[in-house]
Every structure is written in C-alpha cells, then in structure tokens.
C-alpha cells in the first residue's frame, strides 16, 4: 500500500485525468479524498493505492507528473 499526496489545480478534468491514470495503469485505489488547499484554486488529493506486483511507486509518480494540471505529488 502506498500513500500519495497530490496537489491539483482546480481545472475541469484534472481529477478525472488522475483517476483514469490509476485505472489505465492498473492501480487499485483503496481510499481517496479531495479537499480544497488554500486559496489559489488548488486541491489536495490524498490517495491510498495498491500496485501490481513488480510495479514501482516511483514510476507511478512519474506518470502522475505528466498530468498537466498536477502541481505536486509525493509518495509515502
């Protein structure tokens, strides 16, 4: 299980892109919560995910960074 902390711009489709990425890459989402983060039109997304065996969370982080409206992502 991995915890991802994601900072997203509040743009239409930003959340969908992240969620679809999980589905595309066969990442199982265990929990997900979205909340406003500060005043600058940003949202904080906290997700717990489970990866397929042999897949690394670093790779998922890099794939998430390709999302244009994603500002930050870190994994724990």
């Amino acid at each position: 299980m991995h915890r991802l902390s994601v900072l997203l711009r509040n743009k239409p489709g930003a959340l969908a892109r992240v969620v679809v990425l999980f589905s595309t890459r066969d990442v199982a989402v265990e929990s997900l919560s979205l909340s406003p983060a500060g005043a600058d039109g940003l949202s904080r997304l906290d997700v717990q995910v489970r990866l397929r065996e042999g897949r690394s969370v670093d790779q998922l982080v890099h794939q998430l960074r390709r999302v244009v409206d994603l500002c930050e992502v870190s994994a724990a």
Binding site: G13, A16, R65, R66
Partner: protein
C-alpha cells in the same frame, strides 16, 4: 470578433497552415471564418479517422504540429483511433472538436459525446473552452504542449455557443517551455560505461527522430565505432547504408540486431521504450547488459527494464553531451567480428513462392530501389509493414511513417495524404495491405480532388496476412476468417475515385509498373500488386518467447542451435 474567428486567427498565429477535417453542426461556426482564411488550407477528408491520421502523417513529415478538426459526437469519436495512435507513437497532433452548446452539455443532446472523458487516457492533455476570450491562449498552449517534451496529441473541445459568442482578442504569448537539464554526473557515468564496454549497442528509437538528432547520432556512432540498431519507429534515423548499422531489432528484426542486443554488455537506449515487440520475453532479454536509458519522459525510465544510468533529456542534448564526454572506447574488434559473422550468415532474405506467384518482398525492395531514399514511405499494419521496414533501405530520418505502438490498420493512405501536404516536393509512397487498404482507401478521393499525388502500392495477398501467419504457426493452419476473397478490384476502385489504377502480378512487370506510377504527377496512383498468399515474415521472435529463440524460418533458431555466441 466571435470565438470562431478568434480560433482561426489563433491557429494562424501559431503557424498552422493545414487543417484536415469534416464540418458538422457543432463545429459549423468555426468553418465560416475558416472559409476566408488565406493562410490555412483545409483538406476535407472523407472520414475523421482519415483527418486524424493525416494530421499525424503531416506532423511526422514536417516535424510540426498536425491539426485535425471534427464536429461533436460521431465526428469526435471517429478521432479516437488516430488520437490513440498519436499518443502511443508520440506524435504532436492537436485535435479541435465542436461540442454541443454549454446550456445543454450533460443532457444527452443531439450529437453529444463527452469526448474529453473518452480520450483521457490517450491524450497528453485536453481543454474544453468555456470562455471565448480564452481561445487564443488555449490554442497557443495546446500547440506548445503537443510539441514540447515528449510530443503527443492534445484535444481542444469547443462548445458551439462559445464559438458563436463575442470574443476579445489578445495576441497569444508562446508559453514558456522548460527543457529538462541533463545531470552531468549521469552523463559522465554513461560515458565511463561506454568507454569500458566490450559489447555496446546504440538502441535507437523514435525519440531520436522526434528530437531531430539523427546527425548527432551519426557523429557519436562514428566517433565510438559502436553498432547501431534502429527500431520500427526509428528506421532512417541512422542510414541503412552505414556499415555500423545492424538493422531493426525485435519480433521481425535482423538476426544481427536481435543478437547484438541480446548478447550486449551495454545497451544505450536513445528515445526508445523497451517495447515488448523489441524485448521479447523481458525476463530473458539482454541478460548481461547494463542499461543507459536516455529519454525525455522520466516515466519511461525503468518502466520495463531497469536503467543503470538514466539520462533524462532531449535526445539532441543527450547525444551532444555524450559526444563531449566520451573518450575513445574499448577494443570492439571481437564484438564486430561476432556481429559481422551473423550479418554474413543470416542476411535478410526471402524465398520465391513455389506456386510461381509474385514475392511481396521483391515488390517492396524494388519500390525502395526505384523510388529511392529521398521519398517518404508510409505503411499499414501487417506483413507488408514488416517487409516495408525490412526491405526498403532508409537513409533519412522520418522517411518511414507507420503505426508502431497502436498498430492501426488503415494508417497508410491517410498518413501519406498528410505527409504529401507537408512535404509536397517529396514523393510519397504508401505501402499498404489489401486488408488495411479497405479500411481507409476513401481518402484517395480526397487526394484526387485536392491534387495530392500519392502512390499506393497495395500488397494484395488476398488475406489478413499477418493474422494468417500466426494461424499458420500457432493455430495449426486453421485459417479462421482471414481470407479477404478477391474483391474489390483495386485498380477499378482507384479509377472510380479519380486515381490511376494499375495492376501487376508478375516479376517481370514490377519495375515497369513502378516507373509508370512514378511518371504520373497530377493524380494519385494505386498499384494492385497481386502476390502470393503464403509468404511469411522472417526472422521472427514468437510473442512471449526470448529473443534468443529468434527463428530465421520455421523451426530454425540460430542463436539457440549454434554456438556462435559461446566464445564471447
């Protein structure tokens, strides 16, 4: 000014010269000012899929962003395949789609399809514009995104009322694009590995073509003497005539290229992504190799094969940095001796069919020789594609445009149409299969009307040949639904669409018919090459097996059976 005019002005401002598309209800406002544009040529395709692949062919022939346009609903969904295709092959394409008006979005309105959601996993980014004032900025951003970093498709969805609404015009600023900076320590590490390697290989992928780095690749290769292999997406990135070139690796690669990777102690991957069609069984792939992986997309590093040294950057920057850092390499003579032995023993070849029919490989090699390396070649997907990759000799980067990642049947004709729009001074030849041709040949009508004189060589084996080959090898020759029969008459079909239709079924006729086609300048030409049905693509690494098990013909496994490699 309204949103539609802002769109056309914005497209002009970013340098768009050609748009491939089909109008319809939701995109109609945009077509009105497009009618008056002196800078943009609109090519009315016969299917939106054709528009999308044409945009990709245009982009790959010019190195610029290709643009396609469609209406909402079915127009937009017809773009799904080309977008997926451009996504997997990293082609800079901007798709502009009409959408139903804002007030009715989400009500299952007429011709409403949520194209943004549909294309989420196959676009680099997408926009739905809700404020007409945003149009110039969005178009500028979309173009910059499509072309920068790892290129890819970007969708811009425009509701009809946004196009029709009054819009302000602000000159779009070209967005700032940051180019990743190479880590000098990693460059040094890579150069050190290269200096010490005994069996190095440059594994060259499409990224080298996208980055325009072929000249630098050649300089580095010549400086180091390292063997080069070029993937399906990189054919032409290194000249086929170059003595250091071993050809294409992978499922239908040359024995020398496959063995070079397999026996290597250092793979230097340049803009390549360790695709399963290249690696075969990953567990058995290049067991002794250290890997230097250069790619502009950090998400590719260590995705399939762990990289010992990652180099994150544009291939031009990578090659320049490596060139500046490498000293002379080690002694590669034993390595070259081994590889030269394989090249001589297992050159690409083919047998003539026993039934006296025409060998498809012969047709394709003659086209390559007569038409020459200055032309652009496109292909569909199947056996003819692999033969086009094997038997045409490419000397220029980007001169072979095909659907590598998605394997989209029907790519050849519309991609050729797009390529010739972008490169009108070059001959453009589509090497197509009879199955593929029947998916998108209607774009020949577009080509005839628009004066786009592409040549199409239909390699007509009467079958979905590649599937038939698998049925022959892996399904006990049970040819379930792979025969296409003998209709239509492709030459007549071509004539019906305003093209010249030719046919050839004998070895003696091949050169003449190719020359006849080359002499036609004012119309597209289709040559129906009637070839044998039983020719197969060799060599072959069967899906899921290791590259060591490469077969040069059914049951012949030179890398397993002989001990050529043992003394290395």
């Amino acid at each position: 000014m309204n949103g539609a005019l802002a769109l056309i002005k914005a497209l002009e401002a970013v340098g768009c010269e050609t748009v491939f598309g089909i109008p319809g209800g939701a995109i109609l406002p945009a077509y009105d000012p497009l009618f008056d544009s002196a800078k943009i040529r609109h090519v009315l395709t016969r299917h939106e899929q054709g528009a999308g692949h044409a945009a990709s062919g245009y982009a790959q022939a010019t190195g610029r962003v290709g643009v396609c346009m469609a209406t909402s609903g079915p127009g937009a969904t017809n773009l799904v395949t080309p977008l997926a295709d451009a996504y997997l092959d990293s082609v800079p394409v901007v798709a502009i789609t009409g959408q139903v008006a804002r007030p009715v979005i989400g009500t299952d309105a007429f011709q409403e399809a949520d194209i943004r959601s549909i294309t989420l996993p196959i676009t680099k980014h997408s926009y739905q514009v809700t404020d007409p004032d945003d149009i110039p900025r969005v178009i500028a951003e979309a173009f910059a995104l499509a072309a920068s970093g790892r290129p890819g498709p970007v969708l811009v969805d425009l509701p009809k009322d946004v196009l029709a609404a009054p819009a302000g015009w602000t000159e779009p600023e070209p967005p700032v694009v940051v180019r990743p900076r190479l880590d000098p320590a990693q460059v040094r590490q890579a150069a050190d590995l290269l200096a010490r390697a005994e069996r190095p290989v440059f594994y060259v992928g499409g990224g080298v073509v996208r980055a325009g780095a072929a000249d630098l690749l050649r300089e580095l290769a010549e400086r180091t003497g390292v063997p080069v292999v070029t993937t399906l997406m990189a054919r032409g990135a290194f000249p086929d005539s170059h003595p250091q070139h071993l050809g294409m690796p992978g499922m239908h690669g040359t024995v020398a290229a496959v063995a070079a990777m397999q026996k290597s102690d250092l793979l230097i991957a340049l803009g390549a992504r360790f695709d399963d069609r290249v690696t075969g069984s990953l567990a058995r792939f290049a067991p002794e190799a250290l890997v230097v992986h250069a790619d502009i997309d950090p998400a590719e590093i260590s995705k399939n094969r762990r990289a010992d040294v990652p180099l994150i950057g544009d291939c031009r920057d990578v090659l320049r940095a490596l060139k500046a850092s490498v000293t002379t390499g080690g002694d590669l003579d034993p390595w070259w001796k081994y590889l030269d032995g394989l090249r001589t023993t297992f050159p690409l070849g083919y047998d003539w069919p026993e039934d006296g029919s025409l060998a498809p490989q012969y047709v394709i090699s003659r086209i390559g020789e007569l038409v020459g390396p200055e032309a652009i070649y496109t292909s569909g997907v199947g056996q003819h594609q692999m033969w086009a990759a094997q038997f045409v000799r490419y000397e220029r980067p980007g001169s072979f445009i095909n659907s590598g990642g998605l394997g989209t049947m029907g790519f050849a004709v519309p991609a050729a149409m797009g390529a010739v729009c972008g490169a009108p001074d070059r001959q453009v030849w589509a090497i197509d299969g009879d199955g593929c041709f029947q998916m998108t040949n209607q774009e020949l009508a577009t080509c005839a009307l628009e004066g786009l004189p592409i040549k199409v060589a239909v390699i007509n084996n009467g079958n979905l040949g590649m599937v038939r080959q698998w049925q022959n090898l892996f399904y006990g020759s049970r040819y379930s639904h792979t025969s296409l029969g003998s209709t239509p008459d492709f030459a007549l079909l071509a004539e019906a669409m305003g093209c010249v239709g030719l046919r050839c079924s004998s070895r003696a006729g091949v050169d003449d018919v190719v020359r006849e086609a080359m002499a036609v300048r004012d119309r597209p030409v289709v040559i129906d090459f009637v070839v044998g049905a039983d020719a197969q693509v060799w060599p072959m690494v069967a899906a899921g097996t290791g590259n060591d098990e490469i077969m040069t013909a059914r049951g012949l496994r030179p890398l397993c059976d002989s001990d050529t490699g043992e003394d290395l």
